[in-house]
């Protein structure tokens, strides 16, 4: 793969993560299994006239895109690529409710326009006046990684481009409730800090957005994305073999990895994918988890990219992330692994610049 540097990144999550000078020093505790993100003051980033029609995911996406661009020093990107598992669910639900309540008549345009998966990518482009390549990937829990892979391919053809890549997903009243009914969300409310030891099925649901600017190395580069791979379905042992092959392709072995960022979400039915790795090939590597802080959503793995960048930038690991007793001397190679319901596995290797 050609060089694919992260030159700016921003994330909105259930924790206060938008202050560039903070790295999980202040944490919010949640005692429920569906919780919203910690909102920044969106008016600082979006004009009131534009914001009045925006749903949560659009506000989160436009704001993090703006922050990431500012962080990178790029004004207008050469491409905008977004990933989302469910798109703009809130406005989709309102539009469908209007269809039902008004007997399929009197449908207004705003909710329809704002209810598609690519609404966020479109709104970011409209706000910037950017008419460049604009694509949205909807690939379940691998939506964000698929967007990154598209950006990598684009950079391999033309390395001088600056590409805005983001992941966004929001909570919505009815569709999130459906995830509770089908067992994806825990039945019992829990203190989320105890999520990883909950020993019950299901996880906790939240929302968030992460955007980053990818391109050639600059003096603002935070990390190099060495490679990203997605696997649709695999057994825990197949994933173990896939990770070793993935590293081998980079000329590395597991011993070269300083820390692994894992997507454990407290679901007893599927966390064995992570535990199988934690007790074997990763047993001597520093292990970090984050979904007991931000909950789970289809692009939650994008938060792992933000974590890796913060680790490289600050040389610090907040203790709340650590799930084993191993501490790396240096953090040069950070491996990310995530899956959801045993599907949409993603592996990414980030390297310090």
């Amino acid at each position: 793969m050609s060089d694919c540097f992260i030159n700016g990144i921003a994330s909105i999550s259930a924790q206060p993560t938008t202050d560039p000078d903070m790295f999980l020093e202040e944490l919010i505790s949640y005692h429920e299994n569906i919780f919203r993100c910690h909102d920044p003051n969106y008016k600082d980033y979006i004009k009131p006239a534009a914001m009045r029609r925006m749903s949560k995911s659009v506000k989160m996406g436009v704001t993090t895109a703006s922050m990431a661009l500012k962080d990178s020093g790029v004004e207008i990107p050469d491409a905008i690529i977004t990933g989302t598992g469910m798109g703009c669910k809130q406005d989709s639900e309102k539009f469908l409710e209007n269809i039902l309540h008004n007997d399929e008549q009197f449908l207004t345009p705003t909710l329809f326009i704002q209810s598609t998966h690519n609404t966020v990518g479109g709104q970011v482009a409209l706000g910037l006046g950017c008419k460049a390549y604009n694509v949205t990937y909807v690939q379940g829990a691998a939506s964000f990684e698929t967007s990154v892979m598209d950006a990598q391919l684009m950079l391999s053809e033309e390395s001088g481009k600056n590409i805005l890549v983001g992941g966004i997903d929001e909570i919505a009243k009815n569709s999130t409730l459906l995830h509770k009914l089908d067992g994806q969300i825990k039945e019992e409310d829990i203190d989320i800090i105890t999520l990883l030891d909950s020993n019950t099925s299901g996880t906790v649901a939240s929302e968030g957005a992460t955007f980053m600017v990818l391109g050639a190395k600059t003096d603002k580069s935070l990390a190099n994305i060495i490679d990203v791979e997605t696997i649709s379905e695999a057994t825990p042992d197949e994933i173990k073999a896939d990770i070793e092959k993935f590293l081998l392709r980079q000329g590395l072995s597991v011993d070269d990895i300083d820390a692994v960022v894992l997507g454990n979400n407290g679901d007893i039915k599927y966390d064995n994918y992570y535990k199988n790795l934690q007790s074997s090939i990763f047993s001597n590597i520093e292990q970090l988890c984050y979904k007991h802080l931000i909950g789970d959503y289809y692009v939650a793995s994008s938060f792992g990219f933000w974590l890796a960048c913060k680790i490289f930038a600050t040389n610090q690991i907040p203790s709340v992330l650590k799930v084993n007793d191993v501490t790396a001397k240096n953090h040069n190679n950070v491996l990310l692994y995530n899956q959801y319901l045993g599907k949409n596995h993603s592996i990414a290797l980030l390297q310090r610049c």
Binding site: A49, R52, R53, Q105, F106, T108, P109, T110
Partner: protein, 85 residues
């Protein structure tokens, strides 16, 4: 008529998500588009639906909206003359 004007102002704020606007800030003769309230073409479509849904007025030619939606006062006049509910 004054009651209808107030009702329209409230509906405009709610339907068009004018979060930072108060009823008292909208003058009866203030232009709704352009330099006035700053509404745009999507809002015009929302207003056409509002006329039909709440007052039973179906605009046959959407271009009629340009004159009808000039201000709250003009809108209220038109509605009071043409409403079917």
């Amino acid at each position: 008529m004054a009651e209808l004007r107030e009702e329209l102002k409230e509906k405009l704020i709610e339907q068009l998500s004018l979060e930072d606007v108060e009823v008292s800030e909208i003058g009866d003769d203030d232009p709704l588009f352009g330099d006035g309230l700053g509404l745009d073409s999507i809002d015009a479509l929302e207003l056409i639906v509002l006329l039909e849904k709440d007052y039973g007025i179906k605009l046959k030619d959407p271009k009629e909206g340009k004159a009808i939606f000039e201000s709250i006062g003009v809108m209220a006049d038109y509605i009071s003359k043409h409403r079917t509910k």
